[in-house]
Symmetry: C2
DNA sequence: GTTTATATATCGTATTATACGATGTATGTC
DNA sequence: GACATACATCGTATAATACGATATATAAAC
């Protein structure tokens, strides 16, 4: 199995199918939205550690994202010092545009595929996701 | 077919499996390396149009990437005004780190999959790539 | 051959993105 | 109360990004 071939294909897919979308969010902002989306309990400290930046920087980035309406925050009832972050619907939408494949393009592609092909693609991706999650959560080596 | 589900899976795969790599290239730099990799004949003007920036900005970004050893340039023999850009091996490597999945992670995953599963994943991705290329090159509506 | 157009390089200038130390407030633990 | 933790705010600084002006080189049109 030639993994570099798989990688070539992966990055080509993204190159061809990503949204042609004009940035109105910073690079750092996207990374933060990703972290907020993928954590269960995300605080400023979490963000600063994950992105390896100071807490002040993290706080300010988050503050700007809140102003843009992409993130909301609330104080944790169990520890009022802590701020818990979550994505707004608007934030979710912006994140999709910057990390996902253009669904109108996907729609065109899928309309040309057999049911069997569609299912194959879906199964493959889900298998990769599942194994990927295991790696991410250190359940595998 | 629920495309948003496919997209959720896609972005999760990337989130779990991408390289944990420290940036020593700018966001714009990565975009330019991508363009250089994916074009057959890439000039400063091409870059400026694709990224929708002025030619001077494009020229300067490219100049910096050349200094870092990621891109090389040569004059087109048929039109000496034109500079043709290509990736260096070093540039290719940096691009992989910023756009691909971590191959050591993939290796772990694939070592756990049957030959059949591996082939299914590979076939699926190649099918998506092929159709994606068609879309990109306007062969499909 | 001259004029005009094209392609890129360089420089000066400016804005935005990103970062952190210092400081302050609020809350939690001992 | 003393100390620790979490985050917010402000001042400061650097890096990234952008473009207009200008210049040089080359190609096309007349």
């Amino acid at each position: 199995m030639e993994l570099s071939e798989l990688n070539r294909v992966w990055s080509q897919i993204y190159f061809y199918l990503r949204y042609d979308y004009n940035e109105d969010i910073t690079h750092r902002g996207v990374r933060i939205l990703q972290q907020v989306k993928n954590g269960e309990y995300v605080t400023i400290k979490e963000i600063s550690e994950k992105l390896q930046i100071s807490h002040n920087t993290a706080s300010e980035h988050v503050s700007r994202l809140i102003k843009k309406g992409y993130i909301q925050k609330e104080r944790d009832n169990k520890d009022r010092r802590k701020t818990v972050l979550s994505l707004t619907p608007k934030g979710s939408e912006v994140l999709v545009k910057h990390t996902c494949l253009d669904e109108s393009k996907l729609d065109k592609i899928f309309s040309l595929l057999s049911k069997e092909e569609q299912n194959m693609i879906m199964s493959s991706l889900k298998l990769l996701e599942q194994k990927g999650r295991d790696i991410h959560e250190n359940r595998i080596g």
